[in-house]
Symmetry: D2
Subunit: 359 residues, 4 copies
């Protein structure tokens, strides 16, 4: 709970946007895993603002974001003990944000942190900043390294930005989505997303979108029967990423208007294995993985920091008009894609390790 | 994890559909709470098949479902120690189900239980049966008794069944929804739901729907900042109920096509308090309650047990045609409403108790 | 925490001395284990007052103590889901105890329960009664069934009662200790213990003693490196049994006057395995099992309910003289032996299941 | 579990002796606590080898050990979010230790780490090094800052070294023990301890001892009734410190030869409060604090690294004679005292925060 995620493979996260840095401690990672730091850094680079994928939609703020492992590795392999890492904050200009210290920004956690804790680090959102997700991406990358041993592959990509669906402009080709701008699932949609984001930027506004998560080769039998169901746990993981306001598994919202005869996935025998004809369930039945691909969507709200003037109050309750300028993103999608992928990897790694104790 | 829900106010659940009964142990419930057993039984009665609310849509199977507290109460008050309860299974006809023991029913957890555990209690779905939710409803009712002390009120009702929205037929009047058939939020929609369900029954099929959850007077400041966010935790709770395939908080899926200037809830000063002009956020920002009403929707799939013939296989992989007759529901909505309400109560009670340790 | 013990193999316990009964829910027990109920009942019978082993030292109160499994078993095998059990309280005479409801008995938890909870079930000690250990013994027996598959054997027996050491009267022959009165490790000491206990009874007083725990064939590598060390966890388990006031592992208190050259267990090669020459460490080094026998002692205080008059106060603070008559034990040792054995089984089963995730 | 200690006030620890450093993440520390870093550094300095207190008994290795807080503090106060800290390893000579990489040192965790993990960081003991306790001391100091608000004071000091009891040479005056060499409870015993340690050093051997822990002004009512009993939890905390092999609460081992009439602490009324005449229970009854001082002893084994030649084997099973020279301690006592004090502070802070949820 709190700042720890997972039951066996566990991440404890720390750090603030404008403090010394962001870090985490991974506990429960099996010993002997080759810790491919280049792979991990690469995943981290993908969430970085100003990278080639995110440059149009994202902030122009430079972040070095170099991960350093502080413990738990010896001669390139995990030792099975705490795997701690740290990413230093460089070049953060607190004074840009300090003007906002006394203002409750709409759509942000400023006021609720004061409600909850009484004190708050206001510099760049402090603990509630998007920079906190650095810890998730690093830990997720370690989880992915572990999952690769099982042949498990996880993909995440935007299904839509501001209502513009990629599938309306070309086929979804997501296996190399992370080489494209926006991590787009095809090239064709990119100019449409570019255009829309530019329009919205000119309107001093921001947009949201939908992110798709797919996981392949996940073995059947993962997830606990009643409360730690795989879909519940995945939902917890994805909804726990800032800006996500809805999560669906498989057919998701469509099930509310589907009929049993449509929604059921029939079983049949292929060679010696029992398989499913369809995958409306998104790879999860009764909270347990079926062996079919895990499919989920996350609905991401528009970034609350907008240049357009909006009414709000100061901490003291004075009415003000607020216009948030600076280096802010127009669309969170490109930055959130690697985070949602990482959370999915953490969930599956944890459930695999939990399942191991079932005999 | 596993069969335990919650961090401070915790429910450990047990029991199967056709075993001796269903029960649970509540741990962490504060001492001195007046345990109003009549109120608890009343909540439990609401989820019962064959009750006046659910009779049309639900099964006609009789269930006595009388809750007995086994421990943790003395002279009508909780003692602060384990509060165990049990609801005996009566009148379950296992032989009805035993025919199905060797069949993998589509849309059910039959095969995944075998995948996971190797063994399985096939009688009436065993542990994956809807009867398991009895434990949730009882524990949720205890949580509600605790929350009443804070003036917190929780409502749940169907927004739509099979695409027929209550709001299209009358105003939503949910505060006494639990006195109406289907727990409907108005009288006007009921004949339309009746009609549709009858049609679907005649087509040997089943339907799904959407359940709305609303919680009032929840204090600001609940929820942990990074991983045990209130929205993530609520999502975990709701998605962990069988048949739920999507969860949204506040504006939910709509945020994906909203703009920052629309989605942000402006703040202003009313008398001496800082308030929100709107509640697109559904009462949760940055994972922490704002003090505004908590709003969530759960999308419920159609019941997988259908009378219509469907293709499937036996445990041994033989192709068969399956038609599930008997006393099954056409629509899970009326039975799931009290469960989703209960899960919401468990989440809020737990978060209030957790927040108490914050000084 | 609270009323739950264990991380993977977990017991959640409930019940009071004079409530409806004592029970528990075991979660995380692997599926497919043959649940030998006769074996479990036999373990439970051993802690029963008035059994043949404990008759002299123990209370003469009759307790039927029949365990019933409420869930988690199908066709004699565990299903991997919650394994709940219940032992009904029969023939408890609350009125005997009600006289004590307003008195704070010295050495008992009466006052601290009021300090903690404000309310309390005073009948027979309520939740703090020794009857609570029924849940531990049942769960420990299930754990033992699991451990038998690995050839792991656990023994517990009294090393001394009131300073009279068994080893001074005969060799320690503990493998069949549970067939002897007091679970004594030899026949020779029994008359000396009988005599002492009779003397003490005549003096209206009570005695304590030391219980030895030994576990064989525990694989090397169990226990977590820093906080969930096997010795720390075992200590937690044993000290968590009422009346235990000291726990030692291996040489225990003697290490404080030993020298490094004496205390170190040298290693050598036997056939193809690396072994330890001695076992001063009690089978645990750096918190991790060595593969040598696990050895621990628990020091048990005299029963606080004494017939001799003692000064105390009522709840209202009036001075009174208290003499506790009735069916009380003179020595807790025979009843606590099966409980300490059970706790040891729970610890080792949990650590084995936890270790499984390590690859 | 694993590398995390505590249920509400929680420490997740990381780091190895010769890695980059030792650190930890404290979660659940209330917001608004003034983080007195000078106090924390002072506590850390006390465990440092080569400090004025420990110089005779301890190693002569220099350790800078400067704690840096990485997150969770803003303007000198805790923010309620993850409080991470790091202590860099400086001047560690790995090559001194690398000779030992292939040797299984008796009394050390070398072999069990290989048994458990398959891989191991052998430099200076890696994760099993005493340097790991740095994280405990820092977190314990933060807990102490929190406890000071309640007037709670914790003391730790050696009762005896190698069988030489301080009380035989002078009165126990422990409130300023941390200003004396060895943290001795009086000046008089110091020359005797000095002399003994010198003799033992000349014999190329090492010694153990007993550490006393006392906590004052702990409110009544802390500790959970059945499994997370305060004594069980404290036992877990103390036994979890390397080298501790026995723990006793209150009269401890003496209870095994005490009588009920002696061991019971009578109650009486003093002014308007109900008090205990004696404190044989060590401030804990039924697992719950009584309000009397918490009293515990920890028995510490002699340091296993001895200069005297001892038989052992290499990883490959070759017999060798090993003599461990270098900068090793003769007696762990002065270094372990601050660690045991820290663990006690962690336990009490956690139990106070847990108890807050009880209304």
């Amino acid at each position: 709970m709190f700042n720890t995620f997972g039951s066996i493979f566990r991440l404890t996260s720390f750090g603030e946007s404008h403090g010394m840095g962001i870090g985490g401690v991974i506990d429960g990672c099996p010993a002997g895993l080759i810790l491919d730091e280049a792979f991990i850094q690469e995943q981290l680079d993908k969430r970085k603002p100003g990278n080639s994928f995110a440059s149009q939609a994202g902030t122009t703020r430079k972040e070095a974001d170099k991960v350093v492992f502080l413990s738990g590795v010896y001669e390139g392999k995990t030792t099975g003990t705490s795997l701690a890492f740290f990413v230093e904050n460089i070049n953060q200009k607190s004074h840009d944000y300090m003007k906002l210290a006394e203002v409750y920004r709409p759509g942000h956690a400023d006021k609720v942190y004061d409600d909850k804790y009484g004190v708050r680090d206001p510099r760049g959102g402090g603990r509630s900043s998007g920079r906190e997700t650095i810890a998730r991406v690093v830990a997720g990358a370690v989880a992915e390294l572990y999952l690769k041993q099982y042949g498990i592959e996880i993909y995440a990509y935007p299904l839509a930005i501001d209502g513009i669906y990629a599938q309306d402009y070309g086929e979804l080709s997501f296996s190399n989505a992370d080489t494209r701008k926006y991590f787009a699932p095809n090239e064709e949609v990119i100019p449409y997303w570019d255009k829309r984001i530019n329009e919205v930027r000119n309107n001093l506004d921001t947009v949201g979108g939908i992110v798709r998560i797919e996981a392949y080769n996940v073995p059947a039998g993962l997830g606990e029967p009643v409360f730690q169901k795989l879909d519940a746990y995945l939902s917890y993981a994805l909804m726990g990423v800032g800006a996500v306001k809805a999560v669906e598994i498989g057919d998701g919202v469509l099930v509310a208007t589907s009929r049993g005869s449509q929604n059921n996935d029939s079983l049949y025998k292929k060679n010696k294995e029992i398989c499913y004809q369809t995958n409306h369930a998104g790879g999860i039945l009764g909270g347990i993985s079926t062996g079919e691909p895990i499919l989920a969507n996350a609905y991401v709200k528009p970034i609350p920091s907008i240049a357009k003037e909006q009414k709000t109050v100061t901490k003291q309750g004075e009415d003000i008009l607020l216009s948030i300028g600076g280096r802010h993103d127009i669309c969170a999608i490109p930055r959130i894609v690697p985070v949602l992928k990482a959370m999915t990897a953490l969930v599956i790694a944890d459930m695999i390790l939990l399942q191991k104790r079932m005999d």
